[in-house]
């Protein structure tokens, strides 16, 4: 083998992004291949932290430093990889197996895009609109904590998973919380409306003030905070405004390089993008056209991708994946049904004021394809997961 070929083989696997997706791929790949060189590029300081805990950390009195379980140096050592912090990837040149990072070329054997997503922003009028905060990484969380200092009230835009978790967390930490969402019930994308109503009641009794079915027209600065004008003219006053209305995959780097992008960076079931040796996963990616949010799909995709990168092409197979909403006042677990089904509310088994259990049945077969549990009914999670897995296996066998 010439030294040139040998060098070619030694080109590193380059991972863009050091969130859960990037670090998990690196860890899984290192388990399979002790020798392959790896370089991880972080746009921030590269600390590893538990992202789901960002919306649960306040009541546990954890600040940003306490959430960062390992810094970049510790991660580099654990992974036996190079972790470069505060890097800006400018360009991907897929034809040359090269990227440009802060003006310098970097060659890769395989490239993994784990660039994450940006918080979705609403167009809102008013001179306070540009001071609305969002929390999508540890640095955001640090800013949010600083903004909360000396404050007593928070208005949250968006009653999805993150908005509801923050509402509960802030309430438990003693803040007055208003939660505003244009949908007809909280967690509208996850829970059927009647289950959402039980969730709303339980959180409401804990002190969260819901403004459901309402959008925000304007956010204006007032003497000691902000005045939010809702679309029905009602006003909500708060010291801090937090937006939690979803994420937009970061796809610019890929699309600038001519890589196919739809809802996110498009990949097949092997996490392969349209460019050779370029892969994507996590919040930036649309696996077979579908963005898979939350932690569990990332873990499954990362394990399969690591195998693929190690030379054993492995299809990402998602099992039944429950979404856990960490709201201690009204804990909830959901398996969102794929395809059409009919929700049936089972009101016999638990206290129906603070607890709800609904199972979604396939329209034709009648088999369970999803469920939504709130409160005490979450105890049924394991049994229902088994039922769903058994129904899925039976359906696959047909």
């Amino acid at each position: 083998m010439s030294s040139n070929e040998s060098n070619q083989m030694q080109e590193p696997v380059v991972i863009v992004g050091t969130g859960l997706a990037g670090y998990t791929v690196a860890r899984e790949l290192r388990k399979l291949d002790a020798a392959v060189p790896m370089i991880l590029l972080s746009q921030d300081n590269g600390s590893f932290y538990s992202k789901p805990m960002l919306s649960n950390a306040l009541a546990m009195k954890k600040d940003a430093r306490a959430l960062a379980s390992f810094d970049a140096a510790a991660m580099a050592q654990q992974l036996n990889a190079e972790v470069r912090t505060h890097q800006r990837v400018e360009r991907i040149l897929p034809g040359e197996h090269k990227i440009a990072v802060d003006g310098e070329p970097l060659r890769y054997s395989k490239l993994v895009l784990a660039t994450g997503a940006d918080p979705r922003r609403l167009r809102i009028d008013g001179d306070g609109a540009d001071q609305i905060l969002s929390v999508n990484d540890l640095a955001d969380y640090d800013r949010f904590r600083q903004a909360l200092a000396g404050c007593a009230s928070v208005a949250i835009l968006g009653a999805g998973l993150i908005g509801c978790e923050f509402a509960n967390d802030l309430c438990a930490a003693g803040y007055a919380v208003s939660l505003i969402d244009p949908a007809g019930s909280p967690l509208a994308r996850l829970l059927p409306e009647r289950v959402g109503a039980v969730f709303e009641k339980a959180l409401g009794e804990r002190g969260v003030r819901f403004h459901i079915g309402r959008g925000v027209a304007a956010v204006d600065r007032v003497l000691s905070g902000y005045r939010l004008t809702l679309d029905n003219g009602e006003a909500v006053v708060a010291d801090v405004v937090l937006s939690a209305i979803g994420l937009v995959p970061r796809t610019a780097l890929a699309s600038d390089a001519g890589i196919v992008v739809d809802q996110g960076i498009r990949t097949d079931a092997w996490c392969r993008t349209s460019a050779e040796d370029v892969y994507a996963l996590g919040d930036c990616a649309a696996l077979e056209g579908k963005v898979q949010p939350y932690v569990l799909p990332i873990m499954h995709a990362a394990r399969a991708l690591a195998r693929t990168l190690s030379g054993q092409p492995t299809r990402v197979e998602f099992p039944v994946m429950p979404v856990v909403i960490k709201t201690p006042a009204a804990p909830a677990v959901v398996v969102v049904p794929e395809g059409e089904g009919e929700w049936r509310i089972d009101s016999a088994s638990h206290d129906t004021v603070h607890s709800a259990r609904a199972v979604c049945h396939h329209l034709h077969s009648g088999q369970p394809i999803g469920f939504a549990l709130v409160g005490a009914a979450t105890a049924d999670k394991a049994a229902l997961l088994k039922e769903l897995a058994a129904a899925a296996a039976a359906a696959a066998a047909v």
Binding site: S50, P52, L296, M299, H300
Partner: protein
């Protein structure tokens, strides 16, 4: 009895409560949790991430 926390998702394992639905009886110590156990919320393996001790 101790409480452990998954560093990825924040799931808490309370030794006193165990995890009966996963076959871990109340009082099962973290050391005695099987090596193939995975976090029910994020599927992280016991090996991959030492659970952090949050309280004793």
């Amino acid at each position: 009895m101790k409480i452990w926390e998954c560093v990825i998702c924040g799931f808490r394992y309370d030794e006193a409560l165990g995890l009966p639905e996963a076959g871990l009886a109340p009082g099962t110590r973290w050391d005695d949790v099987p090596e193939d156990w995975i976090c029910p919320d994020c599927a992280t393996g016991k090996h991959d991430f030492e659970m952090q001790l949050v309280s004793v």
